[in-house]
Point group: C2
Chain length 416, copies 2
Amino acid sequence: MEINISRVKRDIEKIAEFNATPGQGCTRFSYSPEDSKARNYLIEEINRLGLTTSIDGVGNIRARLEGSMKDAPAVLIGSHIDTVLHGGIFDGVLGVVGSLEVIRVFKENNIKNDIPIELIIFVEEEGSNFGSTMAGSKVLTGKYGIDEIKSIKNSMGLSMYEVAKEVGFDPDSSQKYLIKTGDIMAMIELHIEQSVVLESEKKPIGIVEAIAGIKWFEIEIRGVPNHAGATPMVMRNDALVGASEVITTINSKTRTAYPSTVATVGKIICHPNVPNVIPGKINFTLDVRDTNPEGIRIILNEVEKKLNEISKKFNLSTSMKLLGESNPIILSNELVNLIEETAIEKGLPYKKMNSGAGHDACLFGGITNVGMIFVPSIGGRSHVPEELTSYEDIKAGCELLLNVVYKLTSSLTKKT
Amino acid sequence: MEINISRVKRDIEKIAEFNATPGQGCTRFSYSPEDSKARNYLIEEINRLGLTTSIDGVGNIRARLEGSMKDAPAVLIGSHIDTVLHGGIFDGVLGVVGSLEVIRVFKENNIKNDIPIELIIFVEEEGSNFGSTMAGSKVLTGKYGIDEIKSIKNSMGLSMYEVAKEVGFDPDSSQKYLIKTGDIMAMIELHIEQSVVLESEKKPIGIVEAIAGIKWFEIEIRGVPNHAGATPMVMRNDALVGASEVITTINSKTRTAYPSTVATVGKIICHPNVPNVIPGKINFTLDVRDTNPEGIRIILNEVEKKLNEISKKFNLSTSMKLLGESNPIILSNELVNLIEETAIEKGLPYKKMNSGAGHDACLFGGITNVGMIFVPSIGGRSHVPEELTSYEDIKAGCELLLNVVYKLTSSLTKKT
């Protein structure tokens, strides 16, 4: 029972050809012509294994390998195939083709599974199209209803509801495809790490124990735009000087919070943004994440304190608006142990770790046991054309997934 | 002998009507239709006084009130009439119409001046059109030749040379209009302060002693763009965190340099500027000014030290490129004393001060004695639609200019 890495490589490279921006990374938005070709390729591969597909109201694809226990809750494996603009070819796709390969190995080795195995291919994980991440898995798990998918819109102003309908899906039928508690036995997602932790520790496998909660804010700092030459330092209300002190504080306080705490100011806009005018207004985003909610609380307290301090120090006015949030997810301890035990058996070096990124698997937190397996990203690069994982590490990740799924589904006595 | 403030007000308001962006501040670029109307209005007013105008190769207007000493070096008074995009109605215009009013008062009071008085109206001081400030006075004083005005271009890609030619000037003739050492006896510019110093000290008059030297830089900080959730704090190379420490240092070190030192980061660009990606590259400008070159040196040393420090601390690479510079100008001590003595005689509260902004008068530093008179800017606002100076203060400034010009030109025995 072994992964055929050349099939996995062929699938990844084939799907990479369905790309709206050849030569400038991989761009495959949900419901685009490229997405449609990638779906057709995968459906054909699924059919070749004798499985049939079921497609929900927004295009999430499910394919079931029945087991000896008919109609039993299945083990769900898979990920997404949409990408960001000018992204890479591994993010999402790896989990889909790795899971497809697991089913292929079951079929070609004639392994008799007791529990059914379901391959899942989510739509619209990246949010590149309609601005809302994990929209496909949100629909499938009932977090998004018709109202939500009517309200999120693409750059043309068309809603996810409208576009899904336009390409032939039936979003009004979403309700009947919902996955609810008791429907599935476990959800396991294989994914690239998208960071530098595994590479720097030279481990091919990450076993995810928790997925960070996130809070997103927009912070505005208002000062007075004035002449850069004519205004003495003591008479300035420089919004950028205030913002810089806040950003410096966010960085230093996050480094001394918990090892799991991360905070990022990724976007900053300066007004009027002219070399010889003192900045009158700065808007910047704050993305703060932690598996431990206390880490997020510490940072927000520090930011609040610092905003007060700079308001007084430089006579600025400040405001802070919550844009979005998600709670931390603790993955199944049982699955973590099973994945760890299997990695040890297979001689695969691993690291138990947290995920700072959100994934489709997060949506299954309240519904079933969730597990995630990471493989290293070279240089930590992701969401860029340079995104890369070695096929040696991909093989390790797929093998681990295969053996975990085997233990979960094929021999009831082996289950922990 | 008295200023007629209603004439000054009428001139300012009339010229404000020649505006490309009514309702959104005043926009009057050199060589635009609005500029042409303002020039015609002023030339008509000059002709009404019996003076004729001489226009150089790029459009600088000069008008001479002859004195009893024919062909003697004149006292030059005036400023510019071009504005920034969406600017105010006082910057530049005040010095032009204030100087015009001085000549009107001489004529209507039949004052016999010994020394000639010349009104000057510069083109293209703001650099809004061709990106180079004080281009008109640079041509008139020989700092810009044909090559330079062929190389500076507007947003349509047309050079100052081409556009000046297109609207009917003869830029090739510039050489014969040059002002050289010995041609004029003094240059005095009346201007709004563009800052908050006079307002905060409740003084209607600023007597400028020195104009700051300037150095402009572009600083680039390169890190690694990475996933905001997946990258632990200790593994980040965050260009914005590095930039924020530099900006914070620039501010704190400038406050402790000299009272005359100012430094501003007015423009900042973040790449890729996405909320959930660690900034990979930051470009920002540094504008540092001082009448004391030692102040500029202190700041540049500190910036260099800090760039080295953040390179090591966050593993970033940095570079710093000089974009432009001008040397500090010490104004004529003789003129400062004369203006001060006159302000005292007239009972006008004044402050001896430096100018952080550059002005056309700077270009005359090596050629003749230069003096500048400032009047307060309400709230320090300038280069914005809200730019405002009270007509009471304007009257004080014009009166002071009138009396200084009178002393310099009309009674040889009264000169200090």
